[in-house]
Symmetry: C2
Subunit: 199 residues, 2 copies
């Protein structure tokens, strides 16, 4: 991989994914331009289409890598926890870390239509589904006696609270409301407590 760049690039596919991930992080999903990526990598504007059917296919790949990262973080969180409660808390923190640590990637994964698209490829749906199942298992472990519907309700409600908070904060909706007597960290703790204490 990566020759001194003659006619052939060497590993254009991987380079495109890397560059696209950088662009997503810098300016969100809409900031990814195939022409721009191609130019920055020193290839023609048509070259990316040898590796990806269209812009969406490239973004799908970036999002899939994001879900792979998230799943790995979930696994670490749950493996290193002493109790189901600690595992749940660390799982939620992993989600928050991704959201606030790599907001561009998070938006691509959760705020775009990629996963919800009717023609979403398995390479994206599978890791996205694994993330949900991992979260579900963490909730189920909190209360082994709970039936399926209860666990689902708890998982969906908790996920909704976390996700909604992230979305509102990143959309700038809470500016000026979290400052005075209430910090973001306090809110996060309150939300985590609430998510945990409902079991």
């Amino acid at each position: 991989m990566a020759t001194a760049r003659g006619y052939h690039h060497g590993d254009l596919r991987a380079a495109l994914i890397r560059a696209a991930a950088d662009a997503v992080e810098a300016g969100g999903p809409d900031a990814v331009s195939l022409r721009e990526l191609a130019q920055s990598l020193g290839v023609s504007t048509a070259a990316p289409y040898r590796h990806f059917a269209d812009r969406t296919a490239l973004l799908n790949e970036v999002a899939a890598l994001g879900f792979a990262d998230l799943n790995a973080a979930y696994a670490r969180a749950q493996a290193g926890a002493a109790t189901p409660q600690a595992a749940m808390r660390e799982t939620a923190r992993a989600y928050l870390n991704l959201a606030f640590g790599r907001p561009g990637l998070f938006r691509l994964m959760f705020a775009s239509d990629l996963v919800g698209a009717a023609d979403a490829p398995a390479s994206l749906l599978v890791p996205a589904g694994e993330a949900w199942e991992s979260l579900f298992r963490a909730v189920a472990a909190l209360d082994p006696a709970a039936d399926l519907a209860t666990v689902k309700r708890r998982a969906i409600t908790g996920w909704s609270t976390l996700h909604g908070f992230i979305t509102l904060v990143q959309g700038g909706r809470l500016k000026g409301f979290m400052t005075e007597p209430l910090t973001e960290a306090e809110l996060l703790d309150a939300i985590l407590d609430k998510t945990l204490n409902e079991a």
Copy 2:
């Protein structure tokens, strides 16, 4: 207004806002093309720029009308309720009605960057701020003894849960998870109960 369309349109500005609102509802914020709107209204592609500085300015106007509608619905909900609990419940339902009844508009108002933008105009920020304050008042009325930070925390947490649930459902993230032993209606009730019962 609205002559038989000679050289001048009559009320192009209002027609553009209406057409843009329809387009937003049909395909989301990204589906609005100024060229397309202009063509459908029978004017040149440059005409819209006599009334809106750019595409974002037009979308801001549509979103502002959406917030005006939401505020009116909030006011109705709170005026017609016998107790603070009922008022809160109806307020939340008004939010849900907008989200699921007019999802395209909802996405424009809450999932786009318009309100969060650094250069968002007052014509948008004012009604958006009113919506938040209306929600805040409804939460505060549930428990007059609660201090400011507590009310804020409850309002933000409850809003987050509602908003996150809507976002996840509309993003297709819960497909196949809400079907079997758990319907969407049950979940909504559970979420409303949870939002109410924390006071």
